[in-house]
Amino acid sequence: MPLTKEDVIARLLARLPKAEAASVPVRDYPTVRLGAPEDLPAAARLLKGELGFEYLEMVTAVDWLGPVRQEGFVSSRNPHPFLAQAPAPPVTPVAGPGISYHPILDMLWSFGNLRENLKVFLRLAVPRDRPEVPTLTGLFPAADWQEREAFDLLGIRFTGHPNLIKILTPDFLTGHPLRKDYVHQKDPYDE
């Protein structure tokens, strides 16, 4: 009997008492919100071992602190670069239903089952000041670089990762650029 989205969610929720189906799912895909970082290895083992989700597609995170700050960029977000005095555009994004700005990093994993053609997303909120998540490198070698990327750009510590070092940004760059409160420190190559 082929596996369905509902089966996957049900199996996950049955195994993980703290988990729940996400209130705002990734559109068209089954999404499960984990309750605690400890749930992740259990969920991953279940997915890989019993449900056949052997394909780790994506590891990433969203910083829900609020709209991006201008200090993160090298120059201002002036839409009229040739007119120095032009006013900066008003940035007034609206937090919509199910979305609100609060200081968390919302982790996201995506697993694929290539045989059944299914995909499931796992979510986990971690605090911005202590973002620690267990690594999946033992189960999925594909997690290696993707976790390093998330560490580099978002500053998430993957506990147990064998080689958690910068991967994309240069060594002298401080901070994690994809965090919303990233402030760009001037380096010798700017101006």
Partner: protein
């Protein structure tokens, strides 16, 4: 090579009629340099694909005597074909220093000119000329192979203006007094 390039101008100017020798020598030296621009096999980003297209059959850079050399020691021309990131800046500087004089630099594409679409990125150097002196800038994102060929022809014109009496032993940019690459950043 010091004898031809360093001593000849002083000697020739002292001897009556030496100017003729000097200008003739200039003519042939410039011919040699113009038609034998060997770029380094070195691509950074999107522009590198257009650079490869320029070497390939339709555009055929070889017509101008431009054939790529893999080692910087044998290259005359550094084509900065793509975005110069801050992580890449140091290697580019090193490659530039590895190239023997006279050496020329072409900044290809908007990224190498000024940062292009990444003008406000945290990890992009806004123009190759912040690291090394640049002879010719080619606009475009990416520039067409024709534009690259035009850039090389402009460089050839520039080389034709190099004169021994003005110190053609050194690279053209340094003759103009552009800033010292080592202390530039």
């Amino acid at each position: 090579m010091g004898i031809v390039l360093d001593k000849l101008p002083a000697v020739a100017q002292a001897v009556p009629g030496g100017q003729i020798v000097l200008t003739t020598t200039d003519y042939f030296i410039d011919l040699g340099r113009k038609y034998s621009l060997w770029p380094l096999t070195f691509g950074l980003a999107c522009c590198a694909i257009e650079m490869m297209a320029a070497y390939a059959s339709r555009f055929d850079f070889d017509r101008f005597g431009v054939i790529p050399r893999p080692s910087p020691r044998q290259a005359d021309l550094l084509l900065i074909a793509g975005t110069v990131t801050k992580k890449m800046a140091e290697p580019i500087l090193e490659i530039y220093h590895q190239m023997p004089e006279p050496r020329f630099v072409i900044a290809m594409g908007s990224c190498a000119n000024c940062g292009g679409p990444y003008y406000d990125s945290y990890s992009v150097v806004k123009g190759a000329d912040r690291i090394i002196p640049v002879d010719v800038y080619i606009a475009g994102c990416p520039p067409r192979p024709e534009a690259l060929i035009h850039g090389v022809i402009e460089l050839q014109k520039k080389i034709a203006r190099m004169k021994l009496a003005k110190g053609a032993a050194a690279t053209f940019q340094q003759e103009k007094g552009s800033r010292d690459p080592a202390g530039g950043i």
